[in-house]
Symmetry: C2
Subunit: 140 residues, 2 copies
DNA sequence: CAAAAACTTGACTATTTTAGTCGGGTATAT
DNA sequence: ATATACCCGACTAAAATAGTCAAGTTTTTG
């Protein structure tokens, strides 16, 4: 039950932006240096963040990325969604007629996994990017 | 963010046992047929459940497995633990001196992931196997 | 204008993890 | 005896993941 690194880095990078942008664009190069994440990897991640309207870009010298929403408004669930990091603890589709084992009825554990998904998703729904910044001592 | 099938099948199989055992041992063959899980795979799973004292076995004809605790007492977290399905949403070790990016201080997001782990683990801690059986209509 | 900074994009690959199988056991009830 | 059912380590194919590469385009600044 692990989160993939793409999502982890995305949250990390956006948190970095929230701290270090002073209404300026933040370049991936700077984030890469501060957070120790590969620049090439960040590019790939920000491509998706941009496509999903989490950030907007400024090209050219002194360019970089800018958060579209304020950290107080940006939900962690928005970030994960942008990276296709769905919280689906099992493969069985909620709306499909087929159960996880190919039978026509839902299996004995189905409702339980549904509850789990809701439990986890609500955590991400209720957390804002700004919530991560509260104890700034923890920052690098 | 997915649960692996081993854990999923383990919960499913144990729920099956809770429903169909009448103080008798339940054979893997029966579980396999009822739940549509490969017998060979079940054997591998129950090996671990046995080693971790979730079930005990009865060999020979009419043998099978028996739940050690009652479904009311068996926590889902116990089951996951038996299968090494740790809920560790990131790789960073809690107690280690090293952060996720190799630096000596904890990264900006560290506490957040810790909270997430606690959130998910408490869900599994508070659910008992018997909780899955409440709406028996859902069973196959 | 030239050059550097920085974003854009798709494709590509090595590694790791996962899911599931195989083969050859051993114990026990009837 | 023999069928049933647990025991156990090793093995493999397929999928997911993490991360790289190559070849751009755009904009600022000297
Ligand atoms: S039918 Fe949905 S999890 Fe089994
Ligand atoms: S230091 Fe623990 S998650 Fe980054």
């Amino acid at each position: 039950m692990k989160l993939n690194t793409k999502s982890r880095y995305a949250v990390m990078a956006l948190a970095d932006m929230a701290v270090f942008s002073n209404a300026n664009a933040v370049s991936l190069r700077d984030i890469s240096l501060r957070q120790g994440i590969s620049l090439l990897y960040l590019e790939q991640i920000f491509l998706r963040l941009k496509k999903n309207n989490i950030v907007k870009s400024v090209r050219g010298t002194n360019g970089g990325y800018i958060l579209i929403k304020s950290p107080k408004e940006l939900k962690i669930s928005d970030i994960l969604l942008a990276l296709d990091q769905k919280v689906k603890t099992i493969g069985c589709k909620k709306d499909s007629k087929k159960s996880c084992n190919g039978k026509s009825t839902k299996c004995i554990t189905h409702n339980f996994w549904d509850e789990l998904d809701i439990h986890i998703n609500s955590f991400f729904e209720n957390k804002k990017l700004s919530d991560l910044l509260k104890n700034k001592e923890a920052r690098i």
